[in-house]
């Protein structure tokens, strides 16, 4: 129940584990609740320096609360939160952290100034800022520099806020759902920037609820109901949620036959339409042919995210956390 049980998928990446004497993030047995609602339930989390970590979880899993504590915006009711072996607030004031928060309705930028002015202010708050031209080139916002902050679109403002997060060349970068307002092209550029920052040795922690965005991380931690339910390299997690969804139309849908097909975990029938969840789509299709089930319009897709979370949370250690 309490303490930090290890839910790591496998321990095979020991050589990249420790860079420097202390971890970038050290979260021990952290409890945080908003009144009666428990947001973090004895959460344990360590992030090695230089690591890129994805914090994956459905809405309300505790991702934003985790960020809030990591940045020292809030304090846990119990447990300890350390960033670079000191209190988060301390690390923040020393200019070693940069962050992009989730944004509500506003732009998160100061009204009535040009983007360059706002960006320069944030740079000047840090002891060793990135030169403006380097920052602008890296984040691709040169076209925005002379614009007034209140005239930016949501996606543009987000790019400026990302530039602010890295303006001080911080060791640790925290990004809470960084791609939320970005279009496909902006996302691609964004992840390339993250890759560069990671190569330079920055530690990056980002939250997402898109399973495919975890491809950009060295390690993925899945949290649900305020607890870590899975922890490991992205590929391992993806394999763990390798459920595929097969849909097709058939004349004689016999649930008994369908349920016994190889790999099938779940059967849904809607008239002549069939949807199967399978852990091995290839084997299921072969078995369909072998058993002589007629089918047309066959489609195989990845499982939906909700199902992926369910797969992870059912066999993870999160099952006991119901009594919140």
């Amino acid at each position: 129940m309490e303490g930090c049980s290890d839910v790591r998928a496998q321990p095979g990446h020991g050589e990249t584990e420790v860079i420097g004497a202390y971890p970038a993030v050290h979260f021990t047995d952290v409890v945080f609740s908003y009144g009666a609602a428990v947001a973090l339930d004895h959460l344990c989390l360590d992030v090695a320096r230089g690591e890129t970590l994805a914090l994956l979880g459905p809405n309300g899993a505790g991702k934003s609360t985790t960020f809030s504590l990591l940045l020292g915006l809030q304090r846990p009711q119990s447990g300890t939160v350390e960033v670079l072996a000191m209190s988060p607030r301390h690390a923040m004031i020393q200019g070693r952290l940069g962050a992009m928060l989730q944004q509500g309705s506003g732009s998160g930028l100061p009204p009535g100034v040009r983007v360059a002015t706002a960006l320069n202010l944030v740079r000047r708050l840090y002891p060793h800022p990135t030169p403006l031209d380097v920052l602008v080139e890296r984040t691709g916002i040169d076209a925005l520099l002379t614009r007034q902050t209140h005239r930016l679109s949501g996606g543009e403002a987000q790019r400026v806020r990302f530039a602010m997060a890295i303006a001080g060349d911080p060791e640790l970068i925290f990004l809470d759902e960084p791609t939320a307002a970005m279009d496909v092209e902006a996302r691609r550029t964004f992840w390339r920037m993250i890759q560069d920052l990671s190569t330079e040795g920055h530690t990056i922690v980002f939250a997402t609820h898109h399973l495919d965005e975890t491809d950009h991380a060295d390690r993925v931690v899945v949290i649900n109901r305020g607890r870590v339910v899975a922890d490991g390299p992205g590929a391992t997690l993806k394999a763990a949620v390798a459920t595929r969804r097969l849909t097709f139309v058939t004349e004689h849908a016999d649930p008994l036959v369908l349920d016994r097909l190889e790999g099938v975990t779940d059967v849904e029938l809607r008239g002549s339409g069939v949807a199967l969840n399978s852990l091995d789509a290839d084997a299921t299709v072969r078995d369909l042919v072998r058993k002589g089930v007629s089918f047309c319009n066959l489609e195989v897709t990845g499982a939906r995210l909700e199902e992926a979370f369910m797969a992870l949370t059912e066999d993870g250690s999160g099952a006991e956390g119901d009594d919140r």
Partner: protein
């Protein structure tokens, strides 16, 4: 420290580049002054033995200080809190208390030139002639005594949401202006309003200036009320800021 200076310069620059802010803070006191200037007999005596033209200049200095302080704080702070900028600053190396502090310091800085401007209008058009020492003394007095106005501006910015901040600021400008005796001397008002003026910071602000120019020792009540406003409103702002910080909202 470097960060504080950078933030202060940024804030000041932003204020001085705001066309709206400059129009209101310069326009209101100067235009009102010009309108009132032709309104009454300039030699008429008010508040004991103060000539009307002197009263008019001091009261417009007070009004200018009030307008500048409320507009530098109020709507801007509540807007920045609503759009998330105040929160964004919390994830920079800037210490948590510096946002409020710098806002107040910058408000104080913009009050000073407004007071001086009204004095310049007073000596060029208003027929007020004082010695250099008295000008300096008057300016310093009205400036320092404007602190409760500045704190009131910050207070509105923290307590009122972005949509209502503007009407609240406008209302405060005219309520404190009129009932504090900045448009008509309080001793020309009905008794009930004279009593009410005693609890308004604007009345005590203008009274300090008038007492100085009239050669009287100012009543300690003026300083007490002004200090009380600054302390009480400032205390509420600090309390609110702390609560928000502990909830991770600030």
């Amino acid at each position: 420290m470097i960060g504080l200076v950078a933030f202060g310069r940024f804030e000041l620059g932003r204020l001085l580049q705001s066309w709206k802010f400059l129009a209101v803070t310069v326009g209101f006191p100067v235009i009102f002054y010009m309108l009132f200037l032709n309104d009454r007999n300039p030699g008429k005596v008010v508040d004991g033995a103060v000539p009307w033209r002197v009263y008019l200049m001091v009261s417009m200095c007070s009004f200018g200080a009030l307008v500048a302080a409320l507009n530098a704080g109020g709507t801007r702070i509540s807007g920045e809190r609503a759009c998330g900028w105040a929160r964004q600053l919390r994830v920079t190396p800037l210490p948590g208390w510096s946002y409020v502090t710098i806002k107040a310091v910058v408000s104080m800085l913009v009050v000073l030139p407004v007071v001086v401007l009204v004095e310049v209008v007073g000596t060029t058009f208003g027929g007020v002639h004082l010695g250099v020492a008295t000008w300096c003394e008057l300016t310093a007095l009205l400036w320092v005594a404007a602190l409760p106005f500045v704190v009131l501006g910050v207070f509105v910015g923290f307590m009122v949401n972005a949509e209502t901040a503007y009407p609240v600021i406008t209302m405060l400008m005219f309520v404190l202006g009129y009932f504090g005796g900045l448009f008509t001397p309080v001793d020309h008002m009905p008794q009930a309003l004279q009593t009410m003026a005693q609890v308004l910071p604007s009345f005590h602000h203008v009274s300090l200036g008038l007492a100085l120019l009239d050669g009287r020792a100012p009543s300690p009540a003026h300083w007490l009320v002004l200090a009380g406003y600054a302390a009480a409103l400032g205390g509420i702002v600090i309390w609110r800021h702390r609560v928000e910080e502990s909830r991770g909202l600030a």
